[in-house]
C-alpha cells in the first residue's frame, strides 16, 4: 500500500495482515501469534483481550517490530514496517509508542523525571534545550503532574499511579500517532485505575491518538474501546464493535470471558461450571479450532477444521463453525 500516491485518509492507520510470530523453544516451535489480520482506523481505539499467553502482548510488540514477525506484514500509514530496517525504523518509531504494564519497572530508577521524559526528544534529535524543556513541561502538565514539583525527583518517590502518568508523558512527548497500551492499568488499584483510564481518554482527544489497548479485563477494555478483538492461543476469535460484542458475544470464548467477570452485585449469582480448565500449551495447540477443548458448543467439525475468520452483520467478524 506504500504506493507513490501516498496514504489515503480513509485507509486504516494500522493494518496487520496474516501476521505470524514464532519462537524456537527447546527444539520446538511456539507459535505465539498465528495468521492474525487486524486494522485500526485513525482516531480509533481497538481493544485486544485474551488470557495470559494468548499472544496479545506479542502481537503488540510485533506491530512495533520489537519482535520480528515470522510471516505477514504490518503497514502503518501506508508504510510497510516489516520492510523497514535500521535508521528508517528508528525514525518511524517516533510515531508509534508503547506503554507497559509495570510503570515502576519501566522507569530508570537513577534518572530524574525531567530527564526520563526528555530522553525521547534527545534521541529523536531535538537539539534546542529550551524547546525540550518546554515540551516536557507541557506534557507533564497534560498528564496531571506539576512540572516544577516533579521534574527533579526520582521514580521511587512516586506511587504506581503517578509512575504510570510519567510513562504516559514519556510516550506522548514526541506526539506519536499510535500508542500501544499493554495492560496499562492491570498493576494499579481500582481507584487509581479509573484515574489512568480517564487520563488515557483525555490524552486521546487532546493529541488525536489512535490506540491499541491490550488487556485481560473486558470491563476495562469496554470503558475505552470502539471495537474489541478477542484472542485465544495465538488466533483471533472475534472482532466486533464494542457495544455489540458485550450485548451479544458471537464467539463462545467471548461469552465465557464475559461470564467469568465477577460483578459487584450480590444479587447476581456468580456463574459456575465455566468452561473447565485452562488454555492448552501453545507449544502443542489442539487441531481444528483451538478453543474446542474448552468450548461448551464444540462439534465434530471443530475438532478437525480450524474455522476461518468470517464477516457477520454490523461490522463484526468471527472465527467459529457455529456460523458455517
Amino acid at each position: 500500500m506504500s504506493g507513490p500516491g501516498g496514504p489515503r485518509s480513509d485507509e486504516p492507520l494500522l493494518s496487520v495482515q496474516h501476521l505470524t510470530v514464532e519462537y524456537a523453544v527447546g527444539g520446538k516451535t511456539l507459535s505465539a501469534v498465528s495468521d492474525v489480520s487486524l486494522a485500526v482506523g485513525r482516531g480509533e481505539t481497538l481493544g485486544l483481550v485474551g488470557e495470559s499467553g494468548c499472544g496479545k502482548s506479542t502481537l503488540g510488540r510485533a506491530v512495533l517490530q520489537l519482535n520480528r514477525p515470522t510471516a505477514g506484514k504490518v503497514t502503518f500509514d501506508g508504510t510497510e514496517l516489516t520492510k523497514l530496517e535500521g535508521e528508517a525504523m528508528r525514525l518511524m518509531r517516533r510515531r508509534l509508542q508503547l506503554i507497559f504494564q509495570d510503570p515502576i519497572a519501566s522507569l530508570n530508577p537513577r534518572r530524574s523525571i525531567g530527564d526520563i521524559v526528555a530522553e525521547p526528544l534527545i534521541i529523536s534529535g531535538v537539539k534546542d534545550k529550551a524547546e525540550r524543556e518546554r515540551r516536557v513541561r507541557d506534557v507533564l502538565s497534560a498528564v496531571g503532574l506539576d512540572p516544577d514539583q516533579v521534574r527533579g525527583r526520582l521514580p521511587h518517590e512516586f506511587s504506581g499511579g503517578q509512575c504510570q502518568r510519567i510513562c504516559i508523558a514519556r510516550a506522548l512527548v514526541l506526539e506519536p500517532e499510535l500508542v500501544i497500551c499493554d495492560e496499562p492499568v492491570s498493576a494499579l488499584d481500582v481507584s487509581i485505575r479509573a484515574q489512568i483510564l480517564n487520563l488515557l481518554e483525555d490524552m486521546k482527544r487532546r493529541y488525536g491518538l489512535t490506540l491499541l489497548f491490550i488487556a485481560h479485563d473486558l470491563a476495562v477494555v469496554k470503558a475505552v474501546s470502539d471495537r474489541v478483538a478477542v484472542m485465544y492461543l495465538g488466533r483471533l476469535c472475534e472482532v466486533s464493535p464494542t457495544e455489540q460484542l458485550f450485548a451479544k458475544p458471537a464467539h463462545p470464548y467471548t461469552a465465557l470471558l464475559l461470564e467469568a467477570i465477577p460483578l459487584p452485585d450480590p444479587t447476581v449469582k456468580p456463574a459456575t461450571n465455566l468452561a473447565v480448565g485452562e488454555p492448552p500449551s501453545p507449544l502443542s495447540p489442539p487441531p481444528g479450532c483451538r478453543f474446542h477443548t474448552r468450548c461448551p458448543k464444540a462439534m465434530d467439525v471443530c475438532r478437525q477444521v480450524d474455522p476461518p475468520m468470517r464477516p457477520l452483520d454490523g461490522g463484526r467478524a468471527v472465527a467459529c463453525h457455529l456460523y458455517d
Binding site: E51, D189, A219, V220, I261, P262, P266, P270, E278
Partner: protein, 342 residues
C-alpha cells in the same frame, strides 16, 4: 467491644479485639492496622476489601501470627478460646494446618520450588496427621483431584515450575485444605490469575468451604469478588475498618462514602464505551503521617470542616448490624450494577 458476630447463632470461632500493628520504618512508625475488631463464626465467610496499603494483609498476618519480627502487635486474636498472640511457637505450629491455614496471592511464596508437589503434600499430612507415606500419597492424590487437577498421580511427581499459575494455586489450596482447617485465610488468592481461572478458583474455595463447614476470610481489592461469595464484608481504609455489613446489606445500602467511591470506580459492563469513570481523586494518606480527622476526608466529596478535625468512630447507631465510621453517611438504595447477561 462492638465486634458483630457474623452468623448470629454460633459463638465466634475467631474474634479479633482491638488489634493494632505497628512497623518501624526509616520515616517513623507506621501504624499499618489501627484498632480493628472483627468476629467470624464457624462456616462463615468474611470479605476484607481495600486498596494496596490499607492494612488488609497486615491484619491477616496478625490473625495468622505471621507478622514480621519487628512488628508490634496490640490487642487480642482469640481463636477457639485461646489468644494466639500468647501461644509459644510449638503450640502455634501445631495449630497451623489442622486449625488455621492460609493461601497467598502468589502460590510460589508457599510452594518449595525444589520439592515435588507430592513431597510437599505428603510432608504436611505426615507432620500434622501422622499418616504413613503410602496413605499420605493416596490422600494427596485424592486432594489434588478434589481441587480439580487433571492427572493427579502424575502431578504428584512434578515440580511447581512445571505447572501453570492457576494449577499452582490449586496445589496451594489442596495443601491448605489437607488437614481440614477450621479457618482458611485467602489473601488475594486470585489476583495474579486470569479472569476465567479466577472464577474457577473462587468456585473451588466456595465449594470446599461449604463441604467442610470451614470459616474463611477472603481478602481482595475487588468488590466484585466479595459480592457473590461472602456472608459479610469489612471495608478497610488507612488501617481501619471504615464499614462492615452483611454482604447483601452492604451493596443494597452502603453508608461510607469510601465504599461508594470504590464501587463507582469499577468499570461497569453496562455503561457505554468512553463513559468517564468516577475516579477517586488523590491517593491514600501516608501511613507514617496519621491525619487528625477522617483518613478519607482529603479525597471525599462529602467532607467538611468536622471531617478534617475529628476522627469518626466505627459505630452502629441504627443497631442494624452494619457499623460505619463517617460523620456524613450516605443514605438511599444504590442502583444495581448488574450487566446485561450475554
Amino acid at each position: 467491644m462492638s465486634g458483630v458476630v457474623s452468623g448470629a447463632v454460633s459463638a465466634p470461632l475467631l474474634s479479633v479485639e482491638g488489634v493494632a500493628v505497628e512497623l518501624p520504618t526509616p520515616r517513623g512508625r507506621l501504624r499499618a492496622v489501627d484498632k480493628v475488631d472483627l468476629a467470624l463464626a464457624p462456616g462463615r465467610t468474611l470479605g476484607i476489601v481495600g486498596e494496596s496499603g490499607c492494612g488488609k494483609t497486615m491484619l491477616s498476618r496478625a490473625i495468622l501470627q505471621l507478622l514480621p519480627k519487628r512488628a508490634r502487635l496490640e490487642g487480642r486474636v482469640m481463636f477457639g478460646g485461646r489468644d494466639l498472640a500468647t501461644l509459644d511457637p510449638e503450640s502455634l505450629r501445631r495449630l497451623r494446618g489442622p486449625e488455621l491455614a492460609v493461601v497467598f496471592q502468589d502460590p510460589m511464596t508457599s510452594l518449595n520450588p525444589v520439592l515435588t508437589i507430592g513431597t510437599q503434600i505428603i510432608e504436611t499430612l505426615q507432620a500434622h496427621l501422622g499418616m504413613d507415606a503410602t496413605t499420605a500419597f493416596k490422600r494427596g492424590t485424592e486432594l489434588l483431584a478434589a481441587v480439580g487437577i487433571p492427572a493427579p498421580g502424575q502431578r504428584m511427581r512434578q515440580y511447581p515450575h512445571q505447572l501453570s499459575g492457576g494449577m499452582r494455586q490449586r496445589v496451594a489450596i489442596a495443601i491448605a485444605l489437607s488437614c481440614e482447617p477450621k479457618l482458611l485465610v485467602a489473601d488475594e488468592p486470585t489476583t495474579a490469575l486470569d479472569v476465567t481461572v479466577q472464577a474457577q478458583i473462587l468456585d473451588l474455595l466456595a465449594r470446599e468451604q461449604q463441604r467442610r463447614h470451614m470459616a474463611m476470610i477472603l481478602i481482595t481489592h475487588d468488590l466484585g469478588v466479595v459480592a457473590g461469595r461472602t456472608d459479610e464484608v469489612a471495608v478497610m481504609y488507612a488501617g481501619r475498618i471504615v464499614e462492615r455489613a452483611p454482604t447483601p446489606a452492604l451493596f443494597a445500602r452502603m453508608r461510607m462514602p469510601y465504599t461508594e467511591a470504590l464501587l463507582a470506580a469499577i468499570p461497569k459492563l453496562d455503561s457505554a464505551p468512553h463513559t468517564a469513570l468516577p475516579a477517586i481523586p488523590g491517593r491514600p494518606p501516608d501511613p507514617t503521617r496519621p491525619l487528625p480527622g477522617c483518613s478519607f476526608a482529603p479525597r471525599c466529596r462529602y467532607a467538611d470542616e468536622l471531617c478534617g478535625r475529628a476522627k469518626p468512630a466505627l459505630e452502629d447507631p441504627d443497631d442494624a448490624g452494619a457499623p460505619y465510621a463517617c460523620w456524613h453517611p450516605i443514605s438511599g438504595a444504590r442502583t444495581s450494577w448488574s450487566a446485561s447477561s450475554p
